[in-house]
């Protein structure tokens, strides 16, 4: 019962704030709404029992990426600035694409996914996650881990090269 109440609260938060994120005319407010969406997503991960993913979502998304966004917003616009109003000619095709996508996906979810039985096993422990991320056997992920570390290194170098003063 408690689980269901938490789920509905998170669902409402995500739906309301993700729509506000894409419609708010103040950029800084849009960033704040995005932060709420990301935190509620972290809550969903916790609800599903993935504590490690919850921690990663909070620290990387809500911590790291949002700080980057807020800094870049403050660097590129003044605090009270409003974005220009979106013209109807631009809004209509976007709304149509979004609603069509929503209709198709909603139809598929309600007609097919409800037939799937839900079997839920125990949550993964930290030890299992650590072994899976650092092992080289089947279903273990050392190679993607190394690939992503190379990617992050390239990203650091790229960020410095792109943004440095010439």
């Amino acid at each position: 019962m408690a689980e269901q109440i938490i789920f509905y609260v998170l669902a409402i938060v995500i739906v309301v704030f993700s729509i506000l994120t894409v419609t708010s005319r103040r950029v800084l407010r849009a960033a704040t709404y995005l932060l709420f969406v990301l935190l509620a997503t972290a809550g969903l991960y916790l609800l599903m029992g993935y504590q490690f993913l919850f921690g990663v979502q909070i620290s990387v998304y809500a911590g790291g990426i949002m700080v980057l966004y807020i800094f870049s917003i403050l660097l590129t616009s003044h605090a009270g600035d409003k974005v220009n109003k979106v013209s109807l000619k631009r809004q209509l095709p976007a709304a149509f694409a979004a609603l069509a996508g929503l209709a198709v996906c909603g139809h598929i979810i309600f007609h097919n996914v409800y037939k799937v039985a839900d079997i839920v096993a125990s949550d993964p422990t930290m030890q299992e996650i650590g072994k899976a991320i650092m092992g080289t056997n089947k279903y273990q992920y050392l190679l993607p881990f190394e690939a992503i570390s190379i990617l992050l290194l390239a990203c650091i170098i790229g960020g410095i090269v792109i943004a440095r003063k010439r």
Binding site: F7, V22, V56, V60, I65, L75, N84, V116, Y141
Partner: protein, 104 residues
Amino acid sequence: MSIIPLAGYLVISTVMFTAGVYGFLSRRNMLTILMSLELMLNAADINFVAFNKYLFPGQLEGHFFALFAIGVSAAETAIAIAIIINIYRNLKNINVDEVNKMKY
């Protein structure tokens, strides 16, 4: 034991994704476009985790895919923001309609 159906998570992520699609197509400010992109990536992550939890419990593929997707999207955001700040420094503008020179 869990009473929340898989479809609940899928509905949430669908709404989040389509909000991202709408923002990506209608917004003109580069930073808000990037935020819409972030919403779409996040919705995909929720789907991976939910499918892992409900269809393949006991395995961790979806969990790790979401983990690596979060890392990749962090890298992508950092680079995109570096590019946007560089564009702003050169053109004093980050509106996609008015940024039409690819050289600096």
